[in-house]
């Protein structure tokens, strides 16, 4: 069967229409970013009329019924959980990435990559359920008594552990890409001068990829900062600044997710929650821009 070929005019017209349509769609991602910032800002403006910015961010009393919306305990909650997660996740992920890229035999690499992908694919609620089943009782019944403190197990440490596992894939993926961009000639030069494999990694691969690794860590950090459901389920949600890793905390994303039901019935409540979302967005935007900046620099250096 002979395929019909449209006249040239029509084919060119189709191409021109497609080009315009696709161009329009391609402008959307950029517009979405601005629209998000603008929308959240508009919705949180009502509260700025009554409170100062610093009272909202650094005030520590949260009593929506009395019209007090201090976000500070929630910010601190997020910082604590994120910090614990980073302390656990950064060394483990970086060491794993080095192992996979420099040491591991091929079959180990082939076996581990799908596992890391799966870790990235598991929904955060499932992480949360797992945390409730395993990590919370472990921290509450085993770890806390070991340190001589009481803890329900729903605490910063549990949140940090669950979160750490959730950001393994992000850090490992970006680091692997960074290591792959370091040329083999460099490694071979180092080895031929008598350096051990670890010395080559330490002085050549890690040094060459330094900026890319910073980006990997920052991307993990930003992932951790905004993670909601899993953390919400294991962290206890008490609106107080935590004093130790065994205290409960109430991170910012959890605040937004938990109070959706009531937010329309109390004046300014919705606006305070939208402000919380805006703060989250701005922090994450900052981290992401920073990470991209480092990645672009790293790419230039690698060339």
């Amino acid at each position: 069967m002979k395929k019909r070929i449209w006249p040239k005019k029509i084919r060119l017209a189709k191409d021109a229409i497609a080009r315009r349509g696709m161009f329009f769609l391609t402008t959307l991602p950029g517009i979405f970013v601005f629209l998000m910032l603008f929308g959240l800002f508009q919705k949180s403006r009502a509260i700025f009329a009554l409170k100062s910015f610093s009272a909202l961010l650094f005030g520590s009393s949260w009593h929506p019924l009395q019209g007090e919306f201090g976000l500070f305990p929630f910010l601190m909650g997020t910082l604590w959980v994120t910090l614990v997660a980073m302390i656990l996740a950064v060394p483990i992920s970086l060491l794993t990435a080095v192992y996979l890229s420099e040491y591991a035999p091929k079959f180990v690499r082939e076996f581990t990559k799908p596992i890391v992908d799966l870790l990235a694919g598991i929904p955060s609620v499932v992480y949360g359920v797992w945390g409730v089943l395993l990590i919370v009782p472990f921290v509450g019944n085993k770890l806390a008594p070991l340190f001589g403190v009481y803890s329900s197990g729903y605490c910063v440490l549990s949140g940090g552990v669950v979160l750490a596992i959730m950001i393994f894939p992000t850090i490992i993926h970006v680091s692997l890409e960074v290591f792959a961009s370091v040329s083999y000639e460099l490694r071979e030069t180092s080895l031929s001068l008598g350096a051990t494999k670890w010395e080559t990694v330490k002085y050549v691969v890690l040094r060459k990829g330094r900026q890319g690794l910073v980006a990997a860590v920052v991307l993990g950090l930003s992932r951790a900062f905004g993670e909601t459901m899993a953390v919400l389920m294991v962290v206890g949600n008490v609106a107080k600044i935590p004093n130790s890793v065994f205290d409960s905390a109430y991170p910012l994303p959890a605040l937004i997710a938990n109070n959706y039901g009531e937010m329309m019935s109390i004046p300014l409540y919705d606006s305070a929650l939208m402000l919380a979302a805006l703060v989250l967005l701005l922090v994450v935007l900052f981290f992401n821009v920073l990470a991209r900046f480092f990645l672009i620099r790293a790419e230039r250096r690698a060339r």
Partner: protein, 284 residues
């Protein structure tokens, strides 16, 4: 001196292997725990029935409403997201010049969108919902989740399309094809496995995300019959069941988590299978 270097080498290699074991171990531990704890509550009625009265107090019923709701929601969102992502990625790779500032700005925006947490999408979706005069419904959920999926899908597609050799596009052009024809008949075909994987990854994200639908899709015990009715979703069903004080219902939350995990595993297997199957159309 030489000995010290050898010891350092050994120590770090041991640490690396230990870390890798931790990473692999955590996945096995997660799946193991969920499967083990869910066995007592898993039953056929769980996935074939909707909640009957008093389900959240421990009475009869299942989570069919949430399974169907999630499938509707994720399918709709993925479809909408493909309709946006594919033209965007084709434009970036075929129409815009390699050094174009517009293209790099769009890619940067996609990177930024990729990093935005899903709870912020939820809040933004809520604003859109109010703006459009919608109530918490399947449609509002689909719109929100499609926004969440857009950067995931586009970035994954862009990664494979960037690898299409210029020679292939040039060959198509030199035979007289327009750019649109090259895009649809050559580039899409060449990158089909990558496109399908991107779609499946995004679908998996969409079906598993709770924070973005908590504001927008609502929750109901019935299976949604139209786009304007609220829809239950599997992640939220897990969350609510776990939040009840009754052990029987919490058991069901574990079982629901096992169902969700199974869906995700199936999606990931399917994408591996599709890659194998469709790679034969590719010109190497």
């Amino acid at each position: 001196m030489k000995k010290r270097r050898k010891i350092e080498e050994k120590i770090f290699k041991a640490l690396m292997i230990a870390s890798t074991v931790v990473v692999i171990g955590s996945l096995l531990l997660i799946i193991g725990t969920i499967v083990f704890k869910s066995i007592p509550a898993l039953s056929l009625s769980m996935i074939t029935q909707t909640p009957k009265g008093g389900y959240y107090l421990g009475k009869e019923g299942g989570i069919l409403n949430a399974i169907i709701g999630s499938l509707y929601l994720a399918s709709g969102a993925t479809l909408l997201s493909v309709l946006l992502s594919l033209p965007i990625v084709l434009y970036l790779n075929l129409y815009s010049r390699k050094t174009s500032a517009f293209a790099s700005f769009t890619r940067f925006s996609l990177d930024v969108l990729w990093g935005i947490p899903s709870i912020v999408y939820g809040a933004f979706g809520f604003i859109i919902m109010i703006f459009l005069g919608l109530r918490a419904s399947l449609l509002a959920g689909i719109i929100t989740v499609s926004l969440l999926e857009l950067p995931i899908m586009s970035r994954a597609m862009d990664e494979v399309m960037r690898l299409v050799p210029d020679a292939l596009k040039d060959a198509s052009s030199s035979l007289g094809a327009t750019r649109l024809e090259t895009a649809l008949k050559i580039v899409v075909r060449q990158t089909l496995p990558g496109i399908l994987t991107a779609v499946l990854i995004a679908f998996g994200r969409g079906i598993g995300d709770a924070a973005s639908v908590i504001f927008t899709a609502g929750f109901t015990d019935r299976i949604p019959a139209s786009l304007f009715q609220p829809a239950a979703t599997l992640p939220l069903a897990i969350f609510y069941q776990l939040g009840t004080p009754f052990p029987e219902v919490q058991q069901r939350a574990y079982a629901s988590a096992a169902v969700l995990t199974l869906i995700i595993l199936l999606i990931s297997l399917a994408s591996r299978f599709l890659i194998k199957r469709y790679t034969r159309h590719m010109i190497k």
